[in-house]
């Protein structure tokens, strides 16, 4: 019973923290129709920036904001590669991801930074609220998630937000209405990666260390969360889409934790399971069409 509760609680925390990653992935993949793989690099980037600043004595709130800013910048770079240098979206993301590996190591100076002895926003909140353990983690991640939810729920309904959403839908038309779609793509990439870096900063502070490899597989995980969220919630409207991202991340994490309780799976198998999940989810619409003998467009190679 208590294990069940603690599994639920830890999944809840992870759903909130990694829900930010899911929303970041949603922004690029779904809203912009821009398959941005730089996420694998921006997650540890956020962790690295926050960790280094905190260990040098910077206020943890400022350090977390700086992490967000570093993600915005990285996403912006991906967008520039695509819009101004016309490198394919997929390759732009991969290039930035690869470059970020070196940059992250430069920032950290070593592959791992411990934050155990440092004052993080979780410690700050703990003093402030008198909470500890998982409930503390849930509250802090919950506040961050709520703020992001409220801001995006507003932003995506503004005139600019609408132009951004339309860009991924019908770029041709949006340009015809006078929108510089290069700018909306840049904005969307920056926002998406900013959120992922923010998640990286939160997770690093919560687990007490930043690691150069903590972003590996993040993109597939984010995508899996988005797909699960869409499948379960079938969201209509912006608010529900955002909720579905968090919900999807929660269910995904719960699923992964439960998988570890089986006797035949190891922690190192989780990435394989995640990949399989995404493959199945992406293949289903195609296979359904095959079975119904519907017209199928040629495979996209982005």
């Amino acid at each position: 019973m208590t294990t069940a509760l603690s599994i639920l609680n830890s999944s809840l925390y992870e759903g909130l923290a990694f829900g930010l990653v899911a929303i970041g992935v949603y922004m690029t993949f779904r809203v912009l129709d821009f398959p941005d793989l730089s996420v694998d690099g921006t997650f540890p980037l956020g962790a690295a920036v926050a960790a280094v600043l905190i260990t040098t004595g910077v206020n943890p709130h400022l350090a977390t904001l700086a992490a967000l800013a570093s993600g915005l910048l990285a996403g912006f770079t991906t967008g520039i590669l695509n819009t101004k240098l016309r490198i394919s979206a997929l390759l732009s993301g991969i290039l930035v991801m690869v470059a970020l590996y070196s940059i992250n190591l430069r920032i950290m100076g070593r592959p791992n930074i411990s934050l155990i002895r440092e004052v993080t926003i979780f410690d700050w909140a703990s003093n402030f609220l008198g909470l500890s353990g998982l409930s503390l983690s849930i509250v802090v991640a919950g506040v961050a998630a709520l703020v992001v939810f409220l801001m995006l729920n507003w932003f995506l309904r503004t005139d600019i937000g609408l132009a951004l959403r339309a860009t991924g839908d019908n770029e041709h038309m949006v340009r015809g209405l006078g929108v510089d779609t290069d700018k909306t793509v840049l904005l969307g990439c920056a926002l998406g990666n900013g959120l992922v870096a923010l998640a990286g900063a939160l997770v690093a502070q919560n687990q007490g260390n930043a690691d150069i490899n903590m972003g590996s597989g993040m993109i597939v995980m984010g995508l899996a969360s988005v797909i699960i969220g869409e499948g379960i919630f079938r969201p209509k409207g912006i608010s529900w889409v955002l909720v579905a991202c968090f919900g999807g991340a929660f269910v995904y994490r719960l699923f992964m934790t439960l998988a570890l309780y089986t006797t035949f799976l190891r922690a190192s198998d989780l990435k394989l399971i995640t990949a399989a999940l995404v493959i199945i989810a992406l293949a289903i619409p195609y296979l359904r069409k095959r079975i119904r003998h519907e017209w199928i467009p040629p495979a996209t190679r982005w």
């Binding site: 600019i160 609408l162 132009a163 339309a166 340009r175 209405l177």
Partner: protein, 285 residues
Amino acid sequence: MDTTGDKMVNLAMQDHNILELLRVSKTFARGTVDEVKALNCVSLTMAPGDFITVIGSNGAGKSTLLNIIAGLFPPDNGGRVVIAGEDVTNLLGYKRASYVGRVWQQPDMGTAGKLSIEENLSLALLRGKPRGFKIALNRERRRFFRTRLASLGLGLEDRLGVPAHTLSGGQRQALALIMATISNPAILLLDEHTATLDPKTARTVLSITDEIITREKMTAVMVTHNMEVALRYGNRLIMMHRGRVILDIAEEQKKGLSVTSLLRAFERAAGEEFTDDSVLLSSEL
């Protein structure tokens, strides 16, 4: 004395014309074996309220003409595009948007399918204007959209929140028409915008088009493959052939024309037969 007088006349003319194309040529793939002269020194002026229908054989340069007006690409050196008195030759892409509204042949090109009808209309309302952080949809805008949609008589005014991709082709073209005209651009461009619709729907969309153009006093260019449509609508008809405007028929003259006399006029001007099967066969309208 004389020259100043001339200048004044010229200026007054410029103010009066919505569109002036001056010696506009467009060459694709210049210097290669595939070189095409899609437009060959076309000059065209449109007065406010002019509604030109355009016909011409396949590859005559009709779409290229509209693309030049819309600023998708610049004309070859020496050509000029003036809209509403402003030289917009070098104002390309999204920067041209405030001058030109457009409806394409494919219904999915004119609307964002995942966005709702009202969101599409909000996007179109700010054509060419800076977009800020105001919530896009409010009661005032919705009321405005509803009245505009109600004028279509398709019942779309009660489906503001529905995603555009769930609409039928004809409904989507009607929505695209409203989107193209809602912010009153100087010119409306229609490139065979009923070509993919079934005959009945095409007729509906055409009469909606005519109604909007008349009511909003739009200056419009409509490309069509249907000669009867070209004769029935608009106050001016131009025929294109091999990158040139070979006939420009004014209103009075156009009224008395039949499809056969139009074909004959074409053949006389072009010196060859009209090569477009779809025109001859499409008499169902």
